[in-house]
């Protein structure tokens, strides 16, 4: 079990309101991702759930019980830190066993659980090493191991992949997703990387300046962003925003269209512009187009084989059914 409910939870540091009252429900077994630009309060929110910070007002309930004033250890939550926070003077075995030793479990049970966790995480050969002798990915796995042996109600991850190199990050992303499928335990995951959010989450919580901008499944957020901020934050490359006359034609203050919903050709189309930069990824090509008269830069996705170059004039055809319309306040118009 691990249903986490935030009921009007807020946090102030002195006079600064970091998190205005927030309501949020994370269902049992759900993979919830808090995503937002740095400084948006997503880590603070996680630390409030963990109990490492005191809430200023409101209530946190875990499985229906009021956990607002419980000590972190009593909330049955396990956390994986950005720096991994392994204990450098202990071996991997002792690191993983530490929470069990603190819980005063008997020796045989500790050994069994550590062996299990090590097997799950491919750490069996490294149990007698110290964290200093491990690679970044292995340290990450030890930190996860230390979390899973406690059999917590929920896992909390605080930007766990940001210290890994790109290739490892993709690998660990998969491993954490698989772990979630296997354990079916609630996970709350904080990241600033929308790719991690899109690929891993059951539910994404987009935060800005402490406010929840939108909550929903990855595809909901992608298809129906509630405002310009979410529209721009979710999806890579970023959605194109067009204001002025072109937007007025659609009855909106601003219209948005994703790069993948614009077709590019050398002959004809309603819009045109000059290729400034083309990024060839092999599978896809991204064109950054200037001088369209619509926005400073339009980003367009095309097939990997399309080969326009810097300075080429191209014609763009947006898909009419894929326009997102926003009013002057930046809110979505249905």
């Amino acid at each position: 079990m691990g249903r986490i409910v935030l009921d009007k939870v807020s946090k102030r540091f002195g006079d600064v309101e970091v998190i205005p009252p927030i309501d949020l429900v994370i269902e049992d077994g759900e993979f919830a991702v808090f995503v937002g630009p740095s400084g948006c309060g997503k880590s603070t929110l996680l630390r409030l759930i963990a109990g490492l910070e005191d809430v200023t007002s409101g209530q946190i309930r875990i499985d229906g019980n009021d956990a607002t004033n419980l000590a972190p250890a009593q909330r049955r939550l396990a956390m994986v830190f950005q720096s991994y926070a392994l204990y450098p003077h202990m071996t991997v075995r002792k690191n993983i066993a530490f929470p069990l030793r603190m819980a005063k479990l008997d020796k045989a049970e500790i050994d069994k659980r550590v062996a299990n966790a090590a097997a799950v995480l491919n750490l069996t050969d490294y149990l007698d090493r110290r964290p200093g002798q491990l690679s970044g990915g292995q340290r990450q796995r030890v930190a996860i191991g230390r979390a899973i042996v406690r059999e917590p109600a929920a896992f909390l991850f605080d930007e766990p992949l940001s210290n890994l190199d790109a290739a490892l990050r993709v690998g660990m992303r998969l491993e954490i997703s698989e772990l979630h499928k296997r354990l079916a335990t609630t996970m709350v995951y904080v990241t600033h990387d929308q790719v991690e959010a899109m690929t891993m989450a059951d539910k994404i919580v987009v935060l800005r300046a402490g406010h929840i901008e939108q909550v929903g499944s990855p595809l909901e957020l992608y298809r129906t962003p509630r405002n310009i901020f979410v529209a721009g934050f979710i999806g890579s490359p970023r959605m194109n925003f067009i204001e002025g006359a072109e937007a007025a034609k659609h009855g909106a203050h601003t219209i948005g269209i994703r790069p993948e919903h614009i077709a590019v050709s050398s002959e004809a189309g309603p819009w045109s512009g000059v290729v400034a930069v083309s990024e060839h990824l092999g599978s896809d090509t991204f064109f950054h187009i200037h001088d369209s008269g619509l926005a400073e830069t339009l980003t367009v996705r095309a097939d990997g084989e399309v080969g326009f170059r810097h300075g080429d004039r191209v014609y763009l055809t947006p898909r009419d059914d894929q326009f997102h319309r926003f009013d002057a306040k930046g809110l979505r118009i249905e």
């Binding site: 490492l52 250890a73 956390m79 720096s83 392994l86 929470p99």
Partner: protein, 288 residues
């Protein structure tokens, strides 16, 4: 520093420092070694010739030797225990965010700047004196008879004086070590269910272990040779004659330079044994 020319230039430029250092160290060392093998008694006929190992044997077989060793150990161990334990506590306290942190830190370090003779006299006259000392007034205030600290508790008095001088050093080293502790580690331990004392024991103490070892070794080297504090307080009376003080008495009071030098050589050997451990640990620290 790769070319031959730059390397020889470096050697030339380092030479004055190296020569000065060697001279400063080697001349007294060789003189001590030389005198330790001579029967040299300036007031009883001067240099009376080669003495072999007589001085070495006489120094350790004298009835004053073992009590001096015990006195030295009591003072060193006592001062180490107090400075390390209080040092850890003070370091943790000073690490807490508080108002006036900078001033408090300087105040804590202040005793280290007071020279040993002065701090010995300060304590003797201002705190421990049985008529006008602060403690005497305190005792009288509660109606008790003032304690003759230096006579009744000579070791305790000297240990307290020495600890007062060395506590700032221990605190300073341990404070810098504590500041390098990753706060996420403490939070992780908190989440793992370790209460305050267990976090202290399982996370903070292991993190400080190397700094504590360094404090212990450096202090040992300096505490083995404390002299001024004893000279100005008990002058070696009431059993507080340490090894250093014994050497001083042999050379200046008994006017037996040979015997004193032999004691000095023992002290050098002892200090070097500690120094070897110290260099190993500090070296390891630098590698890591």
């Amino acid at each position: 520093m790769a070319t031959k020319a730059s390397r020889s230039a470096a050697r030339v430029m380092m030479a004055p420092a190296v020569i000065l250092l060697l001279g400063w160290m080697l001349v007294p060392l060789i003189m001590t070694l030389w005198f330790s093998f001579r029967n040299y008694q300036p007031l009883r006929g001067g240099d009376l010739g080669f003495a072999g190992f007589d001085n070495y044997i006489r120094f350790v077989t004298s009835s004053a030797f073992w009590p001096a060793v015990v006195a030295t150990l009591v003072i060193v161990v006592g001062a180490l225990a107090i400075t390390v334990m209080l040092g850890v506590l003070l370091a943790i306290l000073l690490d807490q965010p508080m108002w006036g942190q900078g001033v408090v830190r300087i105040l804590v370090i202040a005793p280290f700047f007071v020279m040993p003779t002065v701090s010995g006299l300060l304590w003797k006259n201002m705190f421990l004196d049985s008529v006008n000392g602060l403690f005497a007034h305190l005792w009288k205030f509660f109606g008790a008879t003032p304690v003759e600290w230096l006579i009744e508790n000579p070791f305790l008095s000297i240990i307290v004086i020495v600890s007062w001088q060395w506590l700032p050093f221990a605190t300073l080293i341990l404070l810098t070590a504590i500041q390098s502790l990753d706060s996420e580690q403490l939070e992780a331990a908190e989440m793992d269910g370790a209460p305050v004392l267990k976090r202290f024991w399982h996370i903070v103490i292991p993190h400080l272990s190397r700094a504590i070892t360094v404090v212990i070794l450096i202090e040992t080297i300096f505490l083995l040779s404390i002299f001024a504090e004893i000279f100005v307080t008990t002058a070696g009376a009431f059993g507080t004659k340490t090894l250093t003080y014994l050497i001083f008495q042999r050379v200046l009071e008994s006017q037996n330079v040979g015997l004193g030098s032999a004691g000095g050589v023992y002290a050098i050997i002892l200090a070097n044994i500690v120094a070897i451990f110290l260099m190993r640990i500090v070296g390891k620290n630098l590698d890591a």
